[in-house]
């Protein structure tokens, strides 16, 4: 079941949400986050998977950020699909702001992007994947074996060949490092 949690802002900010107001959906586990993300994106919603804010003590290691003005429709669709969130929280406080899943580190000749628990490192000059680490899921060695040594454009997509949450996180890192390299 879910709750609509306005925390402590009940009587002071009952304003009508403007389009840029954001909310986050908190789920019990990451599998539900992935299912919800796929469902909402397939229906054209502008949602984004993020890290949970420090003010949220429930749920898993991922949350979904969404335009708050759409909360009624989103909640109905998720409930109908059998994946209702634990909570829906308007981002009304810095402590409720979701954190970016990505962390980028420049090693000079190499660039590393970490997404959640997975790290992907490429050689900047050649865009060859030189390392994949992190996780702890059983398919990480397989993913590394398939991807390391390949050019970013030619490596298999971890989202397609992976079978675990690590594969999902690695796919996010893959998309982010591609985005950075194309700028």
């Amino acid at each position: 079941m879910f709750g609509f949690n306005f925390f402590k802002s009940k009587d002071k900010t009952r304003k009508t949400p403007c389009p840029e107001d954001l909310g986050i959906l908190v789920f019990e586990n990451t599998s539900e986050v992935i299912q919800a993300e796929n469902l909402l994106k397939s229906r054209g919603w502008a949602v984004k998977v993020m890290g949970p804010p420090p003010g949220i003590q429930s749920g898993c290691d991922l949350v979904i950020q969404f335009p708050l003005i759409e909360h009624l429709v989103l909640m109905r669709q998720l409930t109908e699909a059998g994946i209702p969130p634990l909570e829906m929280v308007p981002v009304t406080d810095p402590l409720l702001k979701p954190v970016d899943l990505f962390h980028t580190k420049d090693f000079g000749a190499y660039l590393m992007v970490r997404a959640a628990n997975m790290k992907l490192t490429i050689e900047k000059e050649t865009k060859i994947i030189v390392n994949i680490s992190g996780g702890g899921c059983p398919d990480v060695p397989y993913l590394a074996r398939k991807m390391v040594g390949n050019h970013l454009d030619q490596a298999p997509r971890p989202g397609k060949i992976g079978h675990t949450l690590c594969g999902y996180a690695l796919e996010l890192a893959y998309e982010e490092i591609n985005r950075q390299c194309s700028q």
Binding site: T121, V130, S133, A144, V148
Partner: protein
């Protein structure tokens, strides 16, 4: 000559990057990489093989591992 790369206490990808730099830049034909965790051991071995090097030996030394790499 053999060059020793001490990557103990470092988390991936740093041991891999140190190994790749040594493969690319050094004149030593043999590298000995010291690591202290399984992930680094796997990743350094894989990176060396991907660069066409031969992993000659992997020796456990207590909690550490010594990986001997011959440059191709």
């Amino acid at each position: 000559m053999s060059k020793i790369i001490d990557a103990r206490g470092l988390s991936c990808p740093q041991p891999v990057l140190m190994t790749l730099d040594a493969i690319a830049s050094g004149t030593d034909n043999e590298l000995q990489v010291l690591v202290d965790n399984e992930a680094s051991r796997e990743n350094v071995t894989r990176a060396a093989e991907n660069k066409g090097c031969q992993v000659k030996d992997i020796q456990d030394e207590g909690a550490d591992t010594r990986i001997t790499i011959l440059k191709g």
